[in-house]
Symmetry: C2
Subunit: 296 residues, 2 copies
């Protein structure tokens, strides 16, 4: 089901491995310190979508945490090898409509090691993700603890880097699940809307026929969303206006539609925020869906 | 050099493994999400010191992150097995003065797995740690981004749980090293002194012959330090006064001595804070050293 390929200089095409047998050392700081970075891309229609943007963000994360990463060519080769390996289990007919999650990870490696550990993993998209795309999600607003200006003055907090240290993101999701919600939108301590634990926030408004997409400003320390970026690029071409926050919770309630967007789940329409229904404009959703489908 | 023992129900005494060969799955959420908890205890004088306190804190961390952990007996047995394995490489004469770091880790395991992955690792204490004990450290004050009241209102931030998601702690240490310092003291966004990335802050004052130890209040969301707790217990018996913050940076500069305390490095006397020398009362240090040596 899942294909695994390690990026190692001794194996130019990547080293195919079995994800169900142990592959990592307990000395790897990716494990002992959550000290590594990752990206999750989307395979569909026979290709890994917006791989350029994922690799660019990985370079940016690597610079933040000061980890040396493989070359772009090594990443691309390993991704190809892993996708090919993944597809072997499916016949050609199935693979046309097949989609998958492509996870790329680089850790700092063992303490004192010359280089980190890097791998690509391709796995099926879970059923719950497909359902959330279709049915939408209920979200909870949860405080992220930081104010919206901290990223600039405290680079050691690694705001905007996609590290493996996701325990808080996972705890926030569990908190939401315990309260009957599906997902979370983090809010800064000064009240600004930030992002989801694994997604970007996007709102649409239509006033006098002018359609506008708005997302929180990056200066709040959120992760620059590759899907949000691709949607914005496509929307601009299609004549939408674009806006970058600052957004507050009332803007979500006043919008014509709210989504959490991410690479694999794509558009997850928000049905309720903290138990209160939000507007869900189906026409805007269909239109945005069309833009998402164009992402390469 | 390093001994590794996995805690598994099929192996009541623990499963001895080779730390230099791969032992972990890339599917383990300990790796992919920094989603696990850990403790690092100190082996010296033929025993693992204050193991009770470490196991109690591990139970508390486990409750925060909702991970099921092995029984206390399973932990103790695995620790014994790992220490015995570690000592095999040393002759009896050496092992009398030998010290080691005993790391206990429990991850959430693979997605959907019935139980997590748990292991104990015993390894030598690094030379730099021994040197810092002796020579002291220069520290930098760095903002932690949170205010000192966030722990209470936002449990999903996992303040006070010792998780594997340490990327920010490691980044703060790198930031300090780049600026010529050895370590960090985190400060809340409202100015209160918190803790080091891997240690607790302790200050001593002596006024009219009355000696007092003070540490930041736990309500700021810091980790309850097992070493700080043990020192406080010993100091109280020895007639010291004890105090719990709130501490601000000026309190550090006004103290007669400042330490970062942790299980393996023990007492690291602070020489400078942000480049400014702080008082280093050698008599108080010797006295505190005597208390630390009593910790069982």
């Amino acid at each position: 089901m899942t294909a695994l390929v390690f990026i190692e200089s001794a194996h130019p095409a990547g080293r195919i491995a079995d994800p169900n047998t142990p592959q990592l050392s307990v000395l790897d700081q990716g494990v002992t310190r959550g000290d590594g970075i990752f990206e999750t891309a989307h395979y569909r229609d026979g290709a890994v979508r917006k791989l350029d943007a994922h690799l660019a963000r990985m370079r940016s994360s690597a610079a933040s945490v000061e980890i040396t990463i493989p070359t772009e060519e090594a990443f691309r080769t390993a991704v190809n090898t892993a996708v090919t390996e993944f597809l072997k289990e499916y016949d050609d007919a199935a693979s046309v409509t097949l989609e998958a999650a492509v996870k790329i990870v680089v850790t700092r490696g063992a303490e004192g090691a010359e280089h980190g550990t890097a791998w690509v993993m391709v796995s099926p998209v879970s059923k719950s993700i497909l359902e959330q795309r279709e049915n939408g999600i209920d979200v909870m607003l949860l405080e992220r603890g930081y104010d919206s200006t901290v990223a600039d003055r405290a680079p050691w907090l690694l705001m905007g880097a996609k590290t493996l240290s996701y325990a808080v993101n996972m705890a926030a999701l569990r908190h939401a699940h315990h309260h009957g919600a599906d997902d979370v939108i983090f809010v800064a301590s000064d009240g600004l809307v930030l992002e989801g634990p694994t997604s970007s926030v996007l709102i649409a408004t239509e006033v006098d026929g002018v359609k506008k997409l708005t997302t929180p400003i990056l200066e709040t320390g959120i992760l620059p969303g590759t899907t949000q970026g691709a949607i914005f690029a496509a929307a601009e071409k299609a004549g939408w206006e674009l806006g970058y926050g600052p957004l507050e919770p009332h803007h979500l309630h006043e919008a014509d539609a709210v989504w959490l967007v991410s690479s694999v789940r794509l558009l997850a329409p928000v049905n309720k925020i903290d138990g209160t229904e939000v507007s869900r404009n189906e026409e805007l959703h269909r239109e945005l869906q069309g833009l998402v489908d164009q992402i390469m």
